[in-house]
Amino acid sequence: MKAIQAAKTGGGQWLLYLYGIYLALPVYWLVSLSLRSNQSIVGTTGDAGLTFANYQEIFTNPVWYTGFANSLSYVAINTVISVTVALPAAYAFSRYRFIGDKHLFFWLLTNRMAPPAVFLLPFFQLYSAVGLFDTPLAVALAHCLFTVPLSVWILEGFMSSVPRSLDEMARIDGHSLPYFFLRIFLPTIKSGIGVTVFFCFMFSWVELLLARTLTGSAAKPIVVVMTRTVSASGIDWGVLAAAGVLTIVPGLAVVWFVRKHLVKGFALGRVS
């Protein structure tokens, strides 16, 4: 048994430790800078005591906390839209063959893979023309470019692993399709829905280019606030680091609940 274990892991514990240190060091540095004053970071004063002033600044300065609020609002809108429209579509792809289904499924994927920069110019003009520029809704709709395909692909992966006999039994029992879908099928794949919500949330939360281009001053998201923190006295590294720590928190808060499905989500539902 030991020999098998050795053949499986191939030793290499040291590599794991090195990799762990490599991953941890930059994060450690971010957290440690976030707890120091800017003067102590740039070295003008010798004082290196811990301080929560940077976090206090973020929670009390409207530029920072409205940035967080703006980001959360378009991420929430985006997630609701994406998952709602993706559910029936994923069911259709998973359970039926219809004209053009494969092409459509592929075409959705191309949108997930397309560089947002390609869509920048028309987005900017389209959303300006319909008066949505500088609103959370504009960013939410723009992010649908990749979150809707993502949701369809992930949900399809989860739905396809539910045996078809469930559908057939419901039909024999005389349940209508909407009743079956809402009352029986959705509860069956609720972990899949949770994973999809998580990934919509995440990919919308981390995106910068579209969010920056489609917002001005009113709906400015946190990721944009972070890239524009240069004041007259230079960059306040401590506050920047604190903001960085805070943007990581939402992902960390929920990752534990989706840990078993992380790989599936990143691989667009193609890995079991």
């Binding site: 020999a3 098998i4 053949a7 499986k8 892991t9 030793g11 290499g12 590599l15 990799y19 930059p26 994060v27 540095w29 971010l30 070295g43 709602t84 429209v85 029936p88 579509a89 069911y91 259709a92 359970r95 039926y96 063959r97 219809f98 592929f106 959705l108 994927l109 893979m113 560089p115 947002p116 390609v118 869509f119 920048l120 110019l121 028309p122 987005f123 900017f124 709709l141 649908c144 470019l145 809707v148 395909p149 369809v152 939360w205 995106e207 910068l208 972070m226 890239t227 680091a241 960085g244 943007t247 990581i248 992902g251 990752v255 534990w256 992380l262 790989v263 691989a267 890995v271 079991s272």
Partner: protein, 285 residues
């Protein structure tokens, strides 16, 4: 089951996506064949912008840099990810925790990844930067091209290797113990076990890993934008950043649109490869 009424299920998605992808794409193609002076003065120029883009040395440089970057990060992340996945323990309660900790870089906003590495690598306030300079090695990623590239590669490896490792790990855990048993009885070396037992079973997940990394690295924008701003000079300006400068920095509508279409076509080709490899895998299983 064949039923064309299933189209009704797909309709909402089509509506949303037409707003977020179809109309913009048509607009881009439309712009790419016109010379636009203002809203009312437009001139049909055919394929002129495409010819110009393909001859533009800055476009070709960005494309070359992009290809070089993608090849380098694949060359580091795929082998490293496999090694890390093989070194992970296969059983026990620790596994879940280790996997979650490894996944953390994947969940950090991309601009924050840039910020983290900026704070980490700066020669004045960074742990890494000041350490390397303390060793007597000149290191400054905002002034030196090579240093900028090294920092960028380290950042991308830090950001995405875990994805390769997680994918490989899920592939490895689907290999039955009996395979290893047989290999141990035959006295196979570690390399032989990897080459003849694991690699064949990892083919599909590795394909997914390679193509995901290839395509996502091909659209990289945020991290280099925050870290180096594309500099020093243009040495870390990749396709997305060059296109962004053209489209919303200078408002060169025609050339930017032609650029977008070419860029999109390259990605489409990669995407098609991804799709075919997925679907053939699904049929094999």
């Amino acid at each position: 089951m064949h039923d064309n009424r299933a189209w009704f299920g797909v309709l909402p998605v089509l509506l949303i996506v037409s707003f977020s992808a179809v109309i913009p794409l048509i607009t881009v193609v439309n712009y790419s064949v016109q010379d636009i002076f203002d809203v009312d003065t437009r001139l049909f120029v055919g394929l002129d912008w495409y010819r110009e883009t393909l001859r533009d040395p800055r476009f070709l440089d960005a494309l070359l840099r992009q290809a070089g970057f993608s090849i380098l990060i694949l060359g580091i992340e795929i082998p490293l990810g496999i090694l890390v996945a093989r070194a992970l323990p296969t059983e026990g309660r620790r596994v879940g925790l280790i996997l979650v900790l490894m996944a953390i870089p994947l969940l950090i906003p991309w601009n924050v990844v840039g910020t983290i590495w900026q704070l980490f690598a700066r020669p004045d306030i960074g742990l890494l930067g000041s350490f390397v300079n303390g060793l007597g090695v000149e290191f400054n990623f905002t002034a030196n091209r090579l240093d900028a590239w090294i920092t960028l590669l380290m950042m991308d490896v830090w950001h995405w290797t875990s994805l390769v490792a997680l994918l490989t790990f899920s592939g490895l855990s689907s290999i039955p113990s009996a395979y290893y048993q047989a290999a141990t009885m035959d006295g196979a070396s570690r390399w032989q076990v990897f080459r003849h037992v694991e690699l064949p079973r990892l083919k599909s997940v590795l394909m997914i890993a390679v193509l995901l990394r290839l395509m996502d690295s091909f659209m990289i924008y945020t991290e280099p934008f925050v870290l180096t701003g594309g500099g020093p000079g243009n040495s870390t300006t990749f396709l997305s950043q060059y296109l962004t400068t053209m489209a919303v920095g200078q408002f060169d509508l025609g050339p930017a649109a032609a650029f977008s279409v070419l860029y999109f076509l390259v990605v489409l080709l990669l995407c098609w490869l991804f799709y075919t490899s997925m679907t053939t895998n699904a049929e094999e299983q």
